[in-house]
C-alpha cells in the first residue's frame, strides 16, 4: 500500500539561482538545463531519520566539544530558534548540523590558508536534534569574517553553516545563518544570491532574552523547511 502525501513545491522565489555570476564558482558548477519535474513518490517522501539517540548533549556545545585545555577564544554566543514548516507547525526530532570558522575567521579545514590563528580549543562543528516544539540550541563563539578569492578584497560576512533534514529528502536544506548589522552582507555575493525579500530571512536577531548575564550573547534564528508533509491520504490503486 502506498501513502500519498501533499508536498508543496520548492519555492524558487526563496532560493538562489544555480548560476549567479557574481559568485564566480557558479558558472561552471550550476546545472544549466531546466530541472525535470518529478512528482514526489515514496522515495522523495521519506528520508533518513536521526533522532535524539544520535546526538549527545555536548555535541551542541561548540565551546566544549573540542576543548583540549581551556575555553576557545572569542565572544561566546547562544544560537537558538525553531524549525517550522510552511504552515507554521514545528518540525520536531530533526537533525541540525552546524560548522563555522573560529573567532579569528579561520576554519580547521586543511585547505583554508587564511593566515589567522587556529584555536586549539575549537573545532567549529556541532549538531543537535529539535525538541517537540521544533526548538534547537547551540552554544558557540561568534565566527570571524574571513577573506576569500572570489574578487579583489572579498570577505565573507560572519556566518554559521547549517544543515537540516526535516521529515523527508524533499525538505533537505543547507543554509548559512548571518548576524544582524554586518556591513559585509551588502557586499557578499553568496548572501546576495538569495532573492531580495527572501535573503533577509538568513539574518539572525539579537535577543536580550536569550542572552545570559555575564556569560554569552543570544541570537535567535528560525528556519522554515518545505512542508507540511503530514497529511496522509490513501491513494486508490
Amino acid at each position: 500500500m502506498t501513502k500519498a502525501k501533499t508536498l508543496p513545491p520548492r519555492d524558487w522565489e526563496s532560493h538562489p539561482p544555480y548560476i549567479y555570476p557574481d559568485y564566480r564558482s557558479t558558472p561552471l558548477r550550476g546545472p544549466k538545463r531546466p530541472l525535470v519535474p518529478l512528482k514526489a513518490t515514496l522515495s522523495e517522501l521519506t528520508g533518513p531519520v536521526y533522532g535524539h539517540e544520535s546526538v549527545a548533549e555536548i555535541d551542541s556545545d561548540l565551546t566544549r566539544n573540542s576543548a583540549r585545555n581551556g575555553e576557545p577564544l572569542g565572544e561566546r554566543i547562544i544560537v537558538t530558534g525553531r524549525v517550522l514548516d510552511e504552515s507554521g507547525k514545528p518540525v520536531p526530532n530533526t537533525l541540525i548540523e552546524v560548522w563555522q570558522a573560529n573567532a579569528a575567521g579561520r576554519y580547521v579545514h586543511k585547505t583554508d590558508q587564511h593566515p589567522a590563528p587556529l584555536d586549539p580549543n575549537f573545532l567549529g562543528a556541532g549538531r543537535c536534534v529539535t525538541d517537540q516544539e521544533g526548538r534547537y540550541r547551540f552554544k558557540t563563539v561568534k565566527p570571524g569574517a574571513y577573506p576569500w578569492p572570489n574578487h579583489f578584497n572579498a570577505w565573507r560576512p560572519n556566518h554559521i553553516h547549517m544543515s537540516l533534514f526535516g521529515p523527508t529528502i524533499a525538505s533537505r536544506l543547507v543554509t548559512q545563518m548571518y548576524f544582524p548589522g554586518d556591513p559585509l552582507l551588502a557586499l557578499d555575493p553568496i548572501y546576495q544570491s538569495a532573492p531580495a525579500g527572501a535573503r533577509e530571512r538568513l539574518i539572525s536577531e539579537f535577543s536580550l532574552e536569550v542572552t545570559e548575564p555575564n556569560y554569552a550573547l543570544g541570537y535567535t534564528f528560525d528556519i522554515v523547511l518545505r512542508g507540511p508533509h503530514e497529511t496522509p491520504m490513501e491513494t486508490p490503486r
Binding site: K5, Y23, R29, P31, S87, E97, A125, R172, H229
Partner: protein, 196 residues
C-alpha cells in the same frame, strides 16, 4: 499561517570537518559515511563510484554526495513506509569527493528492491558543493534492470536522449560488483536533475 521557506546557501568548501569528519581525518564523529549497509544486511552487495564533473570537464574535488535508498525488498526505513524495513538498514550515505586520489565518490551498499512494484530500483542522490547555491537532486538507476527501467514512470518522463545520464553501468572488479555513475553538472552529458 503561511511561512516562506528559508533560502538555501552553498555548502561551501569547508563542510568536511562538520559533515564527514572521520572520512577526512578530523576529530569529530559523523552520523553517515560511505558504508550504507554492513555485511549483515540482506541483499546483493554493490559499490557505486563516480566523478562529479564541472562544465570544463574537470572532476570536482570538493563535492558532497548524499544517497538515500530502500532496502533489498524496496522498503524505506521511515515512518511513512508502513512496511517495517530491515532494522539494520538506515539507507543513507554521505561522502565527499576530497579524499579519493581521483576525486571520486564511492559508496558500499546493497542493491535496492523496487519500492512499489511500479518504479524500477533506484537510489535518490543529493548533490552539494562550493559553487552550488541550492542542492541538486538526481537518481541512480541500474543498467542491469533494462526491463524495469523501460516501465519506470520517472525515467520515462525524461527525454529519451537524456535517460542514459541516470543509469549506472554495472561492472565487475576483483572486489565485487561496481556500478559506475558520473554526475555531469553541465555540458552535452549534463545529468538530469529533478525539480523534486
Amino acid at each position: 499561517m503561511k511561512l516562506r521557506q528559508t533560502p538555501s546557501q552553498t555548502v561551501g568548501p569547508y563542510f568536511a570537518y562538520g559533515l564527514t569528519a572521520p572520512q577526512y581525518g578530523y576529530p569529530f564523529t559523523a552520523l553517515a559515511s560511505d558504508q550504507v549497509a554492513d555485511e549483515l544486511v540482506p541483499g546483493e552487495r554493490i559499490r557505486i563510484a563516480g566523478h562529479v564533473i564541472d562544465g570544463a570537464g574537470q572532476p570536482i574535488p570538493d563535492a558532497l554526495i548524499e544517497i538515500w535508498q530502500a532496502d533489498s525488498e524496496g522498503r524505506y526505513a521511515h515512518p511513512s513506509d508502513g512496511r517495517a524495513s530491515n532494522q539494520r538498514f538506515r539507507g543513507f550515505g554521505r561522502f565527499g569527493t576530497g579524499t579519493d586520489s581521483e576525486h571520486r565518490f564511492i559508496f558500499s551498499t546493497i542493491k535496492p528492491g523496487s519500492v512499489d512494484g511500479v518504479q524500477a530500483p533506484h537510489i535518490s542522490v543529493i548533490v552539494f558543493m562550493r559553487g552550488l547555491l541550492t542542492h541538486a537532486y538526481t537518481r541512480i538507476y541500474f543498467s542491469d534492470e533494462a526491463a524495469a527501467n523501460e516501465r519506470d514512470p520517472v525515467l520515462q518522463s525524461v527525454p529519451s536522449e537524456r535517460r542514459g545520464t541516470l543509469i549506472a553501468e554495472r561492472g565487475q572488479t576483483a572486489t565485487g560488483t561496481l556500478y559506475h555513475f558520473d554526475i555531469h553538472m553541465q555540458g552535452d552529458e549534463e545529468t538530469v536533475f529533478f525539480d523534486v
